[in-house]
């Protein structure tokens, strides 16, 4: 790792500053146990993760369930140690509380490639994570949930179990070491069984015993594919999402906000809206209106009908002009050069190319929505969200209430992908509820409102220079320009402006495990105010495409097999990453002759701690191109639930392929041209490939699984397109260049 010397020295500095800043004030604070936010009306709570009442055991999952299976895996961590009966437990979303801070979120804070982190760097990063308890960021994102909960939640289960045993031991007059636990019961030496429910109340007031955690060999729940805790509810229509709460006297609302982003409302005439049967009120929200009606349909009709004068958007008038603005960032000094090896400026390039990717919408299956009710000075909200404390704060502000007068229930998220970190929907719901005290409101956005008021994945441009010699890359010099998601989204979330080198902006390019002598990645931040935010895999989603497409170009330049070419460069730098390439090679039978009209492409990226390699096969069929098959291999280290890992890998791949193939948001006068699925579609069953997934577990560190499948899918698709057609796609989406089956 000597080539990372420069980075390492800088890391030391940054790491040290961050820890000292936290530590000076922090050690005491950090070591102090967090307050338990749970106050069950009935039953007892043993710690922030366990409630035992007459109905049984509830486990609190502090992260949002948005499809990634996190409720199941987090609950299994507790249940494993608690010896709870998996079929009997309930899993609940945690309330907004500091106790549920996400420490793993900061693990990526050091400006060093994750694959090359030394143990001391990991502990420095962990220190930053512990300091984040002070910030109390209870965010679901960055594929961090399981990594974050791995110790903490098993400890919660183990200490609760020991407290229950201690109470039972006192009652039975035996030592705790003579007791066993199984399926929610303490079992005495003579076989007598005491249900946890009978012990919970006394156990809750015991000091928290710290005990050793079980060895993975002894695990009964972890390490296997469990039945998901939310599956039955989701197969029967019982799972509650943001707009599924039914309250007596409820009214139904929608909004119409200025679609010219950055613009506002000069005035409006509510009369045409009020003429729609069922419409009861039109409220002024400043930058748009809310329509309140006796059902959502009437509200949607009313919002359409209202006459509104919008003010103009300050954004460039066309998408082309936006790209020009992004390209201007190359003229400024880079914000970061997080990979800087050798002397790239002294090398002559054989290839000099530019790549472009468009803005993308999240397009979650469930459009934004929320339910809110202000009664007797207390506001209650139900909203599927990825950052409950921030949503609570915004709701309190919007309603003009103190935070203790607001209750926020996190319900199931109909897809998140980063979109539901944003608090806009909660602000609106709280504002509307505050104007209608005593009346519960259900706020539903139209799909068009959702697509036109997204916080988009930014458009980005990469300029790449490269050269090969004797089958090896000698030069890879990348510059990436895009507006900064970190600055926009973290700034909104924390209310602080983020300065310094922006790692998120170049992740997926600077931190890839390739052995290249002259290797540089510079990030240029563009000054463009299109609302942007976290999107599945964020920076990796564009940088992974740039970097892995260019590696493919260099392989072609070298006349090498693209998979073996990668192995030659990755092997010396990261055996773990090389292992995923080998696994996908073997799984797909890479290199075997294919029938006429078929071709394959490969890509590998390391993101969120998990190297993931993908092979995509394309087939010509009746004048169009189809994607019949895909193979993936990932190495997230220790796997807690292989079924969920596999599902997340497939999901990430399909999300990436959908975007690379057909995803594109364009703007005219600052308004998104696409409004609904007919203009912004995704893969459907008939054009989704058959997918096989291999899970390797050689990585010594646990990685995430929700996002790592997305970046390599995009590049592998474009690389397969090159293999099939000889045409290199440097600008997404692909359907602009070729006829695909969609």
């Amino acid at each position: 790792m000597s080539r990372l010397g420069k980075i390492t020295r800088r890391t030391l500095l940054v790491g040290a500053v961050a820890v000292a800043g936290g530590a000076a004030f922090g050690i005491y604070q950090i070591r102090r146990p967090v307050a338990n936010p749970l106050r069950p009306e009935d039953g007892a709570t043993l710690n922030p993760y366990v409630i035992i009442d007459r109905a049984g055991i509830s486990i609190i999952a502090p992260r949002a369930e948005m499809g990634q299976g996190v409720h199941t895996t987090l609950a299994a961590l507790v249940a494993e140690e608690l010896d709870a009966d998996w079929e009997q437990i309930r899993v609940l979303h945690g309330p907004p509380a500091a106790a549920y801070y996400n420490a793993a979120l900061a693990h990526g804070a050091l400006p060093v490639p994750e694959y090359a982190m030394k143990d001391w760097q990991r502990s420095v990063a962990h220190g930053i994570g512990a300091a984040s308890k002070l910030l109390g960021l209870q965010v679901t994102g960055g594929s961090t949930s399981t990594v974050d909960g791995f110790e903490r939640m098993r400890r919660a289960g183990a200490s609760a179990r020991e407290a229950l045993k201690a109470v039972a031991a006192d009652r039975l007059g035996v030592g705790p070491d003579q007791l066993r636990t199984e399926a929610g019961q303490v079992i005495a030496p003579d076989g007598r069984e005491i249900d946890y429910r009978e012990l919970a109340e006394d156990a809750a007031s015991r000091p928290v015993p710290q005990v050793a955690l079980r060895h993975p060999y002894d695990w009964k729940l972890l390490g296997r594919s469990l039945p998901r805790s939310d599956m039955r509810a989701k197969a029967t229509g019982q799972a509650q999402f943001s707009t599924d709460i039914v309250l007596p006297g409820m009214k139904f609302a929608t909004v119409r906000i200025c679609p010219y982003l950055g613009g506002s409302m000069a005035g409006f005439d509510p009369a045409p809206a009020l003429a729609i049967p069922g419409v009861e009120q039109v409220l002024d929200l400043g930058d748009g209106i809310a329509v309140i009606a006796s059902n959502t349909w009437a509200a949607l009709q009313g919002a359409e009908a209202a006459q509104i004068d919008w003010t103009q958007s300050p954004l460039p008038a066309t998408t082309g002009a936006m790209f020009d603005q992004i390209a201007r960032a190359f003229d400024d000094r880079p914000n970061s050069t997080m990979r800087d090896q050798g002397k790239p400026d002294d090398q002559s390039a054989q290839l000099e190319v530019e790549y472009r990717v468009p803005f993308l919408a999240h397009s979650t299956m469930e459009p934004m929505g929320a339910t809110a009710h202000l009664q007797d000075g207390h506001l209650t909200l139900w909203v599927g969200n990825q950052a409950p404390r921030e949503h609570l704060k915004v709701a309190a502000e919007a309603a003009g209430l103190a935070e203790e007068n607001v209750t926020l229930h996190t319900v199931f998220l109909g897809g998140g992908f980063g979109r539901r970190v944003e608090t806009d929907i909660t602000r609106q719901a709280a504002t509307i509820a505050a104007k209608l005290p005593g009346t519960p409101i259900r706020l539903t956005w139209s799909r068009e409102e959702d697509m036109r008021h997204d916080f988009y994945r930014p458009a980005a441009i990469a300029r790449m220079r490269g050269a090969v010699e004797n089958g090896r890359i000698t030069l890879l010099d990348a510059k990436v320009a895009a507006p900064s998601v970190t600055r926009a989204a973290i700034g909104r979330l924390t209310g602080r402006s983020m300065g310094g080198p922006d790692k998120g902006h170049v992740e997926g390019a600077f931190d890839q495990p390739y052995d290249i002598p002259h290797y540089r990645v510079a990030g240029h931040l563009a000054d463009l105010d299109v609302p942007i935010g976290f999107w599945r895999a964020v920076g990796n989603s564009f940088n992974g495409f740039f970097h892995e497409s260019f590696i493919d170009e260099l392989a072609h330049q070298a006349g090498a097999d693209p998979l073996q070419f990668r192995l030659d460069h990755v092997g010396p730098e990261s055996p773990v990453a090389a292992g995923t390439l080998e696994a996908v090679r073997d799984l797909s039978g890479w290199g075997q002759p294919l029938p006429e009209g078929r071709a394959r492409g490969v890509a590998m990226t390391w993101s969120f701690g998990t190297p993931t390699a993908v092979v995509i096969e394309l087939a010509r069929e009746g004048g169009a191109i189809r994607i019949p098959r895909a193979w993936m291999a990932c190495d997230p280290g220790l796997v807690l639930d292989p079924g969920i890992v596999r599902a997340q890998m497939e999901s990430g791949l399909i999300y990436g392929l959908s975007a690379a193939l057909m995803g594109e948001i364009t703007f005219t006068d600052g308004r998104a041209d696409q409004g609904n699925f007919p203009d912004y579609d995704a893969l459907r069953m008939f054009n989704t490939p058959q997918i096989e997934v291999a899970i390797v577990q050689d990585n010594p560190h646990m990685g995430g699984v929700g996002e790592p499948g997305t970046p390599p899918a995009m590049a592998a698709l474009a690389n397969a397109h090159f293999a099939l057609t000889g045409e290199r796609i440097r600008s997404l989406p692909l359907i602009r260049a070729a006829d695909y089956l969609i």
Partner: protein, 156 residues
């Protein structure tokens, strides 16, 4: 003005205007929130219910034009779980779950007409149902499995 409607075997009176799409009558007037809104333009299938046994996009069907009994996801397995729901659980299909009511209702319509669909027939029938979580392979497996269970005599 009220209209009467039979939903999941229960007759109810609804006060909404006849232009109101069935989706919003179910969700807002009757509190049957298992049926979801995804697009409002017949392009996602989240709102799929059965009218007279046929899958329809409830976002497109005005209340005034509903001819026949309505079945929603809540009424599909009136006496416990329908075979499709059982298969959905066996195959652990759902991720976020938001599209799944519509997927199941669409699949039920397919199996009613075709007890042993091929992959291509499943593709055809399910093409209008979007899943942003990408659960398609599990959906396909669950449909085949439910079809087998139904053919071997499981209750409809």
């Amino acid at each position: 003005m009220t209209r009467s409607l039979t939903v999941n075997g229960h007759r109810t009176e609804v006060a909404a205007s006849p232009q109101t799409p069935l989706l919003w009558v179910l969700r807002d007037e009757l509190g049957l929130t298992g049926t979801k809104f995804g697009c409002g333009v017949a392009s996602c299938g989240a709102c799929t219910v059965h009218v007279d046994g046929q899958a329809v996009r409830s976002c497109q069907l005005p209340l005034g034009e509903v001819r026949g009994d309505v079945t929603t996801i809540e009424g599909l397995g009136a006496d416990g779980l329908a075979p499709l729901q059982d298969a959905w659980i066996r195959h652990q299909v759902a991720q976020c779950g938001y599209c799944q009511s519509g997927q199941i209702m669409q699949a039920a319509d397919l199996l009613a007409a075709n007890p042993d669909p091929s992959d291509a027939e499943i593709d055809d029938a399910m093409g209008g149902n979007l899943c942003r979580c990408g659960t398609y392979s599990a959906i396909r497996a669950a449909i085949h499995d439910a079809a087998r269970a139904l053919r071997s005599g499981g209750a409809g």
